[in-house]
C-alpha cells in the first residue's frame, strides 16, 4: 500500500496531463461516509441477540426532565403550526441542537419530553439528516461543498486548506458537504448558514479569522450580495454591486427557435 501511494505521488510530480484533483482513495476530502458495521450493515449490532426482556425506551416523564423554558416554548410553537404535531420533529431538533451544540442524549430527551415521543423515534430522525449532529462537534459549522461543480474548481484543496486553517480548534466543525446549491460561486462554503464564494485557498485563513472575530464572514464574498448572472436581469433601479460581465454587449442568444 505504501508503495502504491509513493508511486502515485511520484507520477503526479512527474507532471504531464494529470487530473487537477489530488484526491486519492481514502482522502479526507470526501463526504463523511455512512457508517458501516458488521458484515457491511448500516445498523450497529444488527446480528446481536435481542434482549426480549428489555423494556422499550419510554416517553420521558415531564416530572423528572428539566426542559429550559425557551426551548419548550419554541417546540410547542412549532408543534402548533402543523396539523400533526410530529411534523415539528425537525424544527424541534434544530432548536435543541442550537441550545446544546448537538443532538445529545439530554437534548433528545428534552425534545421527547415536550413532544411526547420516544427518544428512539427522535434519534432515528436525527441520524437521518446531515445537519443534525449526533456526536459532539464545534459550534461553528463550516460546510465546504465538495460536489462536482465545486470540485471542478478546486473544492478538495479548499477543504484541506480550511481544515488546516481551523487546526484542532474545538470551536470549528469543518465538513465536506453535499452540493449546497451555490455552484455559481464555486468553490464555496457555508459558514454558520452564510454562503461565501468563490473562495481561493488564501481565503481559508481569512474565513477562520473572521469566524473567530465574531463579525461578518468574508463580507466581500457573500452570496447574498451577488447580482444575478443573467445580464438582462439588472432592473431599472440598477443592481447593487454592478451587473455581470458582458452586460454592455448582451449576447443576442435568445432568438426564438
Amino acid at each position: 500500500m505504501e508503495a502504491t501511494r509513493a508511486a502515485q505521488s511520484r507520477s503526479r510530480e512527474a507532471g504531464g496531463r494529470e487530473p487537477r484533483s489530488e484526491r486519492g482513495p481514502g482522502s479526507p476530502a470526501e463526504l463523511t461516509s455512512v457508517a458501516r458495521f458488521e458484515h457491511g450493515s448500516r445498523i450497529p449490532g444488527w446480528d446481536d441477540a435481542v434482549d426480549l426482556w428489555k423494556d422499550p425506551a419510554s416517553i420521558p416523564d415531564p416530572a423528572v426532565v428539566d426542559v429550559p423554558a425557551d426551548l419548550r416554548a419554541t417546540i410547542e410553537a412549532a408543534m402548533a403550526r402543523y396539523p400533526d404535531f410530529r411534523s415539528a420533529a425537525i424544527p424541534a431538533l434544530h432548536a435543541a441542537q442550537e441550545l446544546h451544540g448537538w443532538c445529545s442524549p439530554a437534548a433528545i430527551e428534552q425534545v421527547a419530553c415536550v413532544m411526547r415521543l420516544t427518544p428512539g423515534y427522535l434519534t432515528a430522525v436525527a441520524t437521518f439528516y446531515d445537519m443534525l449532529e449526533t456526536r459532539p462537534v464545534g459550534r461553528h459549522a463550516v460546510y465546504v461543498c465538495t460536489n462536482i461543480s465545486c470540485s471542478l474548481r478546486g473544492a478538495d484543496a479548499l477543504l484541506d486548506a480550511v481544515r488546516a486553517a481551523a487546526g484542532d480548534d474545538p470551536d470549528f466543525n469543518v465538513r465536506g458537504f453535499e452540493c449546497l446549491g451555490a455552484c455559481d460561486i464555486a468553490p464555496m462554503a457555508s459558514v454558520d448558514g452564510v454562503y461565501v464564494g468563490p473562495l481561493e485557498l488564501a481565503d481559508a485563513e481569512r474565513l477562520v479569522a473572521d469566524v473567530r472575530a465574531g463579525g461578518e464572514v468574508l463580507a466581500d464574498k457573500q452570496l447574498i450580495r451577488r447580482p444575478c448572472a443573467d445580464p438582462r436581469a439588472a432592473g431599472d433601479g440598477g443592481a447593487a454591486g454592478g451587473a455581470a460581465p458582458g452586460k454592455a454587449s448582451a449576447p443576442g442568444a435568445e432568438g426564438s427557435p
Binding site: 410530529r86 462536482i148 452540493c179
Partner: protein
C-alpha cells in the same frame, strides 16, 4: 425573445419586500385569478402546457387536475429542497423574489381548491428561509394569506418548513415523510400524492420555479404563454450553468434554444485554452452528453431523444483538464452517501460502484471491472421505490460507455504505478 419573466428586474433592491413587489405589478395576477372561477384558472394552467421544473417535467396543470374534487383536507407543498448537484435557480428566486413564489402558490391553491400549503426548504438555505419567512409574514399582514383572501372565498395557510440536509427529501414522497416528521424515506407509488400524500390527504407538489411561473401564466393567459418555447416544452426556463465555464450563474432562456447558445453565448464557454469534454444537461443525475450534442435544442424532448434529460435545468460543463474517473467517483460517492438505505439495489449498488471506482484509482482494477460497473448500473435502474439509484446509474453508465477509452487508459496507468502494469493481459484472461 426579448422579455424575461422570472428574472425580470430580479436584482432590483428591495424586490423581496412587499411594497417594491407590488409596485412592480405583484399580486395583480392573484387579483385576476381570484376574480375568475377556479375552473378557468385551472384551464389556464392546462393551456399553458407548463411542465414541472423540478426534474420530472410532468405537466403542472394536469397534475393539479388529478386532485379529487370536493371538500376535504388537501395540501399544496412547494418543493424547495433544491439539492440536485448543479442546481441553484430556486435559491435565487426565493432569495430575491419570494413574493413571486407566494403569489404562485396562492393561485395554484385556488385552482386546485386547496386550503393548506407548505414550503419545504432545504435546511442549508438558512438565509433564504429567513427572507421567505419575512415575506410570508408581510403577505399575511396584507391579507394575501389567511381567511377569505381579498374578500374572495379562497382561504390559504402557508407554513415554511426547514429540512435538515438530505438529498432524498427532494424526492416528492421522501419530502412528504420528512415533512411529517419522519426519516425521509420515499414511499411506494401508487398511491400517488395526488390521491394520498401529506397526512394521507390529496397533495399537489410542485417545484419553486413551477409555482413562481404561475403568476406569469395568469398575467399572459395560458394560451399566450404556450406560444413561448416549443410545442411540447412551453415557456421560459431558468438554467443554472456551472462547472468549467467563464460566467457560471442562472440564465433565463426560452426552451428550445440551442444548448450551445446557453453554454457559449450566455455563460461564456470554457476557460481560455480549454475544450469542453462533456456536459450534464440536467443536473448530475442526467446522462452526460458530448460537445457535438451542444447543437441540440435545449428542451425536454430533445434532451430525452438524445438519451438524457432536461431534469432541473442545470448544465454542468466539464472540460478536458478534468479526469472522467474523478468526475464519476465524485458523483457515485455523492449518491452512495445520500441513498436512504431503504431499497437494496440502490443502497448496495451505489456502495459497490464507489468501491469499484476506488479500486481503479488504487491500481487494482482491470478493464473487466468496467463491465461489472456497467452491469451493476443496469441492476439498479427501475428496481427501487424512487429514482435515486437511477440517478446514479444513468450518468455513471453513460460515462463508462462514452469514455471507456479514458477509463481503460486510467486503469492501465494506475496499474503501472502500482507495479502491476505488465501482466494485465494475463489478469484479464
Amino acid at each position: 425573445m426579448t422579455e424575461l419573466l422570472l428574472l425580470k428586474d430580479i436584482d432590483e433592491p428591495g424586490l423581496n419586500t412587499l411594497p417594491v413587489y407590488e409596485r412592480r405589478g405583484g399580486y395583480e395576477s392573484l387579483k385576476r385569478a381570484l376574480a375568475m372561477p377556479r375552473e378557468e384558472v385551472l384551464q389556464n394552467l392546462l393551456d399553458s402546457g407548463l411542465r414541472g421544473r423540478g426534474g420530472a417535467g410532468f405537466a403542472m396543470g394536469k397534475k393539479a387536475s388529478f386532485l379529487p374534487k370536493g371538500s376535504m383536507d388537501k395540501y399544496l407543498v412547494c418543493n424547495a429542497d433544491e439539492s440536485e448537484p448543479g442546481t441553484f435557480k430556486d435559491r435565487e428566486l426565493m432569495q430575491k423574489s419570494p413574493h413571486m413564489l407566494i403569489e404562485g402558490m396562492i393561485i395554484a391553491a385556488w385552482a386546485a381548491d386547496i386550503n393548506r400549503s407548505f414550503i419545504y426548504i432545504r435546511g442549508e438555505y438558512a438565509q433564504q428561509a429567513a427572507i421567505l419567512d419575512a415575506a410570508i409574514e408581510e403577505a399575511r399582514a396584507a391579507g394575501y394569506l389567511g381567511e377569505r383572501i381579498l374578500g374572495s372565498e379562497h382561504s390559504l395557510s402557508l407554513v415554511l418548513h426547514r429540512g435538515a440536509g438530505a438529498y432524498i427529501c427532494g424526492e416528492e414522497t421522501g419530502l412528504l415523510d420528512s415533512l411529517e416528521g419522519k426519516r425521509g424515506n420515499p414511499r411506494l407509488k401508487p398511491p400517488f400524492p395526488a390521491n394520498q400524500g401529506l397526512y394521507q390527504g390529496p397533495t399537489l407538489i410542485n417545484n419553486v420555479e413551477t409555482l413562481a411561473t404561475v403568476p406569469h401564466i395568469i398575467r399572459l393567459g395560458g394560451e399566450q404563454y404556450a406560444k413561448l418555447g416549443t410545442e411540447t416544452s412551453t415557456g421560459t426556463k431558468l438554467v443554472s450553468v456551472s462547472g468549467d465555464v467563464q460566467r457560471p450563474g442562472n440564465y433565463e432562456i426560452e426552451l428550445g434554444v440551442p444548448a450551445r447558445e446557453i453554454v457559449y453565448g450566455l455563460a461564456g464557454g470554457p476557460l481560455p485554452g480549454r475544450e469542453i469534454k462533456l456536459w450534464f444537461p440536467g443536473g448530475s443525475s442526467s446522462p452526460v452528453l458530448t460537445p457535438a450534442e451542444l447543437d441540440l435544442p435545449y428542451d425536454f424532448d430533445s434532451m430525452a431523444k438524445a438519451g438524457s434529460m432536461l431534469g432541473s435545468g442545470a448544465i454542468i460543463v466539464v472540460d478536458d483538464t478534468a479526469s472522467v474517473v474523478d468526475v464519476t467517483t465524485k458523483l457515485a460517492t455523492f449518491y452512495a452517501h445520500e441513498s436512504c438505505g431503504k431499497c437494496t439495489p440502490c443502497r448496495e449498488g451505489t456502495n459497490w460502484t464507489v468501491k469499484m471506482l476506488k479500486r481503479i484509482d488504487a491500481g487494482e482494477a482491470t478493464p473487466m471491472d468496467l463491465d461489472i460497473i456497467a452491469s451493476v448500473q443496469q441492476q439498479i435502474i427501475g428496481n427501487c421505490l424512487c429514482v435515486l439509484g437511477d440517478a446514479m446509474a444513468m450518468p455513471v453508465g453513460s460515462l463508462v460507455a462514452k469514455f471507456r477509452d479514458e477509463f481503460e487508459a486510467h486503469i492501465e496507468r494506475r496499474r503501472a504505478e502500482a507495479g502491476l502494469g505488465a501482466p494485465l493481459a494475463e489478469a484479464v484472461a
